[in-house]
Amino acid sequence: MSILIIKPGVLDTLQDLGRFGGGTYGLNPGGTMDRYASVIANMLTGNDINEAVLEIHFPGPQILFKHDALICITGADFKPTLNDEPLPGWQPVLIRKNTILQFSGKKQGSSIYLAVHGGFGGMQQWLNSYSTNLKAGLGGWQGKKLQKGDELSFRESTNDLSRLFRSESNFQLLPWRPDVAQMYSHPEDILFIRGNEFEALTGESKDNLLKSAFRVHPSSDRMGYQLKGKSLFRGDSYELLSSAVHFGTIQLLPNGQLIVLMADHQTTGGYPRIGHVISAHLPKFAQLSPGSSLRFTPVDIEAAEQLLFSQHQQLQILQRACSDHLNSYLC
């Protein structure tokens, strides 16, 4: 049971929800950029939410399914096709063996998640995580992004999938899908919590931060999204020693521009922390593409927590529903 990379994408890596516990030693957590989409991909395929998924950026790979598989694609829309037939995302789907999955264009979003029922096998965890740490060359698939000829096995599934096909078609959608419209609605409105160095901004810079628009710069990557907007200035020149930063931290760079730290962020940094994108908005923020416009609106910690908890609750309900649907389908 495996898939074969016929042609690699620009950055295909295996990721889970991150590697925690090494912060004292400078170990960055990594993990998926859009945690919501990766969690749902796993739920829809009947996996644990922390199972490793393939994170795909555009241009995506060409993947040959060497065996029947139950998969799900979530996150961005890169117009996925299976043997040239459009393949819907956000829905569990049975894939017939000897078919080719590819991505024909970037329609929306930045990263796709591909989960397979049972999870990917043939990998060792490093420090309790499958996430690929490209700098250290460890974790995930041999510590690297996927290359041509790499063959990823599935952990053995007990279910014989071929019996589930009801026709000769190359794929068969399972008849349920979650409603994720709300999560990704208004991607231009990003809520943040003020950072410890927010007050160091000049009055005019605070106004510019809250009232003007920013654009995602093309040099953005898994480490951080660089933003282009009005230059912001500090009222002081106080030198900061390095201290902790986090996924979503908005730092002010010496050139007056902002960077939002993403999944592969460092554990510590010395640039002023103007704010932090709230966790509930990180998924839609992560899916912004270069050129996308956004605005920042401050909220307090309590509001940020409430949004996160209600999202968490919805995911738990979804997980139970997915599990029930899948169990009865596979029986």
Binding site: F20, G21, G22, G23, T24, Y25, G26, L27, N28, P29, L127, N133, K135, A136, G137, L138, I193, G195, N196, Y238, E239, L240, L241, S242, S243, A244, V245, H246, F247, G248, T249, Q266, T267, T268, G269, R273, H276, V277, I278, S279, I301, E302, A304, E305, L308, F309, H312
Partner: protein
Amino acid sequence: MNSENQYTVYAIGDSAITFDMGNIISEELNNKVMAMADWLRKNPFEGLKDLITAYGSVTVVYDAPAIHVKYKLQTTVFEFVRQNLYSAYQSSSVVEKTNDLVRIPVCYDLSFGYDLEFVANDKRLTIDDIIRLHTERTYRVYMIGFLPGFAYMAKTDERLTVSRKKVPRQVVDAGSVGLAGNQTGIYPLNSPGGWQIIGRTPVALFVKDNEKFSLLKPGNYVEFYPITLNEYERISQPEN
């Protein structure tokens, strides 16, 4: 220790909190940081995911929904974690212990020390002065950050105080030994970086395939000693 309330507590988003006792390089403060982190490791709360220690601060990374569900809180999770950090501050005591001394060989050859000449000109020193000043002190490892295994060591001799490069290098080779402000550090991996590079060590700071991947730990003491290019080559040769 400092008198009462010499700290601030602030959110690093909705999933991490920093307990900050000062933006200064002080062994006393850093001992308290390590004591607090030890206390939290021994007295963890459900949902504690990670700890990040820095010069004068401890940061707790936590799973807010898990804490919210587990402890059925009437307050914010932020408040709950803040209380835990305060307990760590109150309850942890600094234990005097003999910290390990690690001696690290450094080759200060111009081919490795890309910025030796710049630092020499900037500080009006000879390269021999730089080597002497860099190797005659014992440094403390205050924190590991930036990269897995990157130790921030201080304080360097005042005559070696330099600012970071205005434009960071795209690639600094693993093992490069640098200066920034009154700190010295070693790049464990190839990485972009802005420190002024004065030499290179053949010793691996990041140990691949090892659970304890970082050669250095916060609280270690480090001394550097100079080696020649030949010695560098000999030490960096794999065994056999």
